[in-house]
């Protein structure tokens, strides 16, 4: 007994063991409660700080701040509007999801159904390693490898052909040939969020009870029918959760996007035009903004809007899932 108490070390010996345990329980409970509260307080604090610092910009421009495409930081005629950066953020993230989800599904399908056992571990680890690469590395790699590739092999090769498609051709027609564009940014983002989505999908695919799959196989279903008819419906909620995790990361990604998006505060006419995102505008202009200036306030304000967009994305995904499960 005394040996046991001395091993704990911190708790003094106070008679029956039960009392000592309940003091420890109370301390532990409060520590855990504090840990939980810290999350809430930090989140609330950040939202509040962003909002208060961004308030002068919101007051100055009103609701027009969100819809204005003007971003003019020149002293004496400052005018700030968030629409272009909001547009760039949302479009690049959605394109990234469109690129990443099919590939992530392919990876997960391969790893859980097709790959021989000895290959699953190394490929799975490689996918997880991709997630561990710092975003600045993706940015540099994107700038030095991916951007010239997009410029030479995608934009110049397919751009004109795609541009000739009626009605939607304008999406691919661009006068900008530097290679840094919305498309490049979406591609880099897709590669960055791929491991998150793929790892989530693989993990949840593996959790499907073998009985279900075996029953389906027993009824004569093909591999594809098993995945589309059993695995995906069973794991739908977690799959969408994984995609939303990736979307959340894509919305807030800063360095990698800044390197390859072209940082142009103009409305892009095509996906090969340079654009900008909220996170990269903040990264680019914050160091040179004066404390208390309207510019800095506008930067805080778009930071607040980014927070808001992320929140809406999360809320929408929850809502979508709920309504589908009911229906």
């Amino acid at each position: 007994m005394s040996d046991f108490v001395s091993r704990i070390g911190t708790a003094p010996y106070v008679g029956p063991r039960r009392t000592a345990g309940s003091v420890g329980d109370a301390i532990f409970e409060w520590l855990c409660r504090g840990a939980g509260l810290i999350v809430l307080l930090t989140l609330g604090g950040i939202i509040l700080t962003l909002f208060i610092a961004g308030l002068p910009a919101f007051q100055h421009f009103g609701l027009g701040f969100i819809f204005s495409t003007n971003w003019d930081p020149v002293e004496g005629r400052e005018e700030f509007g968030a629409f272009i950066s909001i547009f760039g953020t949302v479009v690049s993230s959605i394109l990234a999801i469109l690129f990443a989800v099919p590939v992530a599904f392919g990876i997960a399908y391969f790893l859980t159904e097709l790959a021989p056992m000895w290959l699953r571990r190394p490929v799975g680890t490689a996918v997880e390693l991709l997630a561990a690469i710092p975003s600045i590395i993706y940015g540099m790699w994107g700038l030095f490898v991916l951007v010239p590739f997009v410029q030479m092999n995608i934009q110049l090769t397919f751009g004109e052909t795609l541009g000739a498609i009626p009605f939607i051709g304008f999406i691919f027609e661009s006068n900008s040939f530097a290679g840094t564009s919305l498309f490049s940014a979406a591609l880099v983002l897709a590669i960055m969020i791929l491991p998150f989505i793929a790892a989530t999908m693989r993990d949840v695919f593996e959790q499907v009870p073998p009985v279900y799959k075996e029953s389906a196989y027993g009824l004569g279903a093909t591999r594809w029918e098993v995945v589309s008819g059993v695995v995906i419906p069973y794991t739908r909620k977690s799959v969408v959760g994984g995609i939303m995790l990736g979307l959340g990361r894509a919305l807030g990604e800063t360095m990698a996007v800044t390197f390859v998006i072209g940082n142009a505060n103009r409305m892009p006419q095509s996906i090969f035009d340079p654009s900008t995102t909220i996170a990269s505008v903040i990264a680019m202009e914050f160091p040179e903004s004066l404390a208390g200036s309207l510019q800095q306030s506008a930067l805080f304000a778009i930071g607040f809007l980014l927070f808001f967009i992320s929140f809406v994305v999360l809320a929408t995904s929850r809502w979508l899932l709920r309504s589908r499960l009911k229906g």
């Binding site: 003007n70 971003w71 003019d72 930081p73 020149v74 002293e75 005629r77 700038l143 030095f144 951007v147 010239p148 410029q151 006068n175 900008s176 040939f177 530097a178 290679g179 840094t180 800044t258 390197f259 072209g262 940082n263 142009a264 505060n265 103009r266 340079p274 900008t276 990269s280 990264a283 680019m284 202009e285 160091p287 040179e288 903004s289 004066l290 404390a291």
Partner: protein, 353 residues
């Protein structure tokens, strides 16, 4: 040997290095500065050299001019550094003295296969039209007529700019606004502006990378960066009507032509009228509090000692790094301003040399 002597002996051995480092600290003063990224290489080399020469070590953080102004306004550093000069009101409000430390130039770099370094001639009008997005191809008659002696490839023009707020952008856009009313009323001049055309990249290295990778791209970068990285540069027609090459000779011509008696040393060095003057040359500035509190007087004096030494001995280091030292006439004006403006809390002048 009893226990006490042993203790005493160990104690004195332990104390000895502490005493020595204290004495070394007394000789080796440290000053802190923060701000502009553009002069960072020079300040760092000056710091190394000044540590040996006058015992002042500079701890400089290149966080950007805006950050430097914020830091010195809050007095968290001994001096701030800014590429763009502050206005008289801004200085008065923050109780700061502004003086130049050295000069640098902005050059244009274009990727035109087959065109030699410094062969391409450009006029201010062409540069403005390129960055307004009006000139779209390199074989436009406006450009080819000027450059009859060289063969310019038929490529689309890709203007490239600094997307991060920077003094380099301030110099370049101030120049464009000076030579073109359309630019002045359009994008205007500032550390970051609303670019009507082209691609933005982060830092000199980002702009250089786009220029290097994209045939037909043209961008503006700091001369020091361009020389070290062997970027192909262009000629530019100056106010006197001569085509000048971006060389130390034409930069020094600008430095000599500038009027350093201007208020707050905000001498106009952009688009000067000198025969050989390179039009995009500008000084970078130091911001020093005019009212150092009692415990900061020594740091304030050491800051002035540091820059006094840099004016006297630091010119060669600056030149080796492709920056332009200030002309000697400016040095004495700065020292006079220190004497007249920087006052300790008891009213005495901090700089008496």
């Amino acid at each position: 040997m009893n226990r006490r002597t042993l203790l005493l002996g160990t104690g004195s051995v332990l104390m000895l290095p502490a005493l020595m480092s204290n004495r070394a600290l007394a000789q080796q003063a440290t000053i802190t500065g923060a701000g502009a990224t553009f002069p960072r290489p020079v300040y760092e080399r000056w710091s190394q050299a000044a540590r040996e020469a006058i015992g002042v070590t500079l701890n400089y953080q290149s966080i950007g001019s805006g950050g430097g102004i914020n830091q010195i306004t809050n007095r968290t550093v001994d001096f701030g550094a800014s590429d763009a000069p502050l206005t008289t009101e801004q200085l008065a409000e923050r109780k700061l003295l502004q003086f130049p430390s050295l000069m640098g130039s902005v050059v244009l770099s274009a990727n035109l296969p087959g065109v030699a370094d410094n062969a391409l001639k450009l006029t201010p009008e062409i540069v403005v039209d390129i960055f307004l997005g009006k000139l779209r191809r390199w074989n436009d008659p406006k450009i080819t007529e000027l450059n009859r002696d060289i063969r310019i490839p038929n490529l689309p023009i890709g203007p490239t700019y600094r997307a991060d707020g920077s003094g380099t952008t301030w110099v370049f856009t101030t120049y464009l606004a000076r030579v073109s009313s359309e630019w002045k009323d359009g994008p205007g001049a500032g550390t970051s502006v609303r670019w009507p055309a082209g691609n933005g990249a982060r830092g000199n290295e980002g702009v250089s990378n786009i220029v290097r990778n994209t045939p037909g791209a043209i961008g503006y970068i700091e001369n020091a960066y361009a020389v070290v990285n062997r970027m192909p540069t262009t000629q530019l027609r100056n106010k006197a009507g001569n085509f000048v090459q971006p060389t130390p000779e034409s930069f020094n011509a600008t430095a000599a032509a500038a009027d350093w008696t201007a208020q707050n040393f905000a001498a106009d060095t952009i688009d000067l009228a000198g025969e050989k003057a390179w039009p995009m040359t500008a000084a970078t500035f130091i911001l020093l509090p005019t009212n150092p509190p009692a415990d900061k007087v020594e740091a304030s004096r050491n800051t002035m000692r540091f820059f006094d030494w840099a004016y006297r001995e630091g010119g060669d280091i600056a030149k080796r790094l492709e920056y332009i030292p200030l002309p000697a006439s400016a040095h004495d004006l700065v020292r006079a301003a220190w004497r007249a403006n920087i006052k300790a809390p008891d009213g005495s002048t901090v700089w008496s040399a």
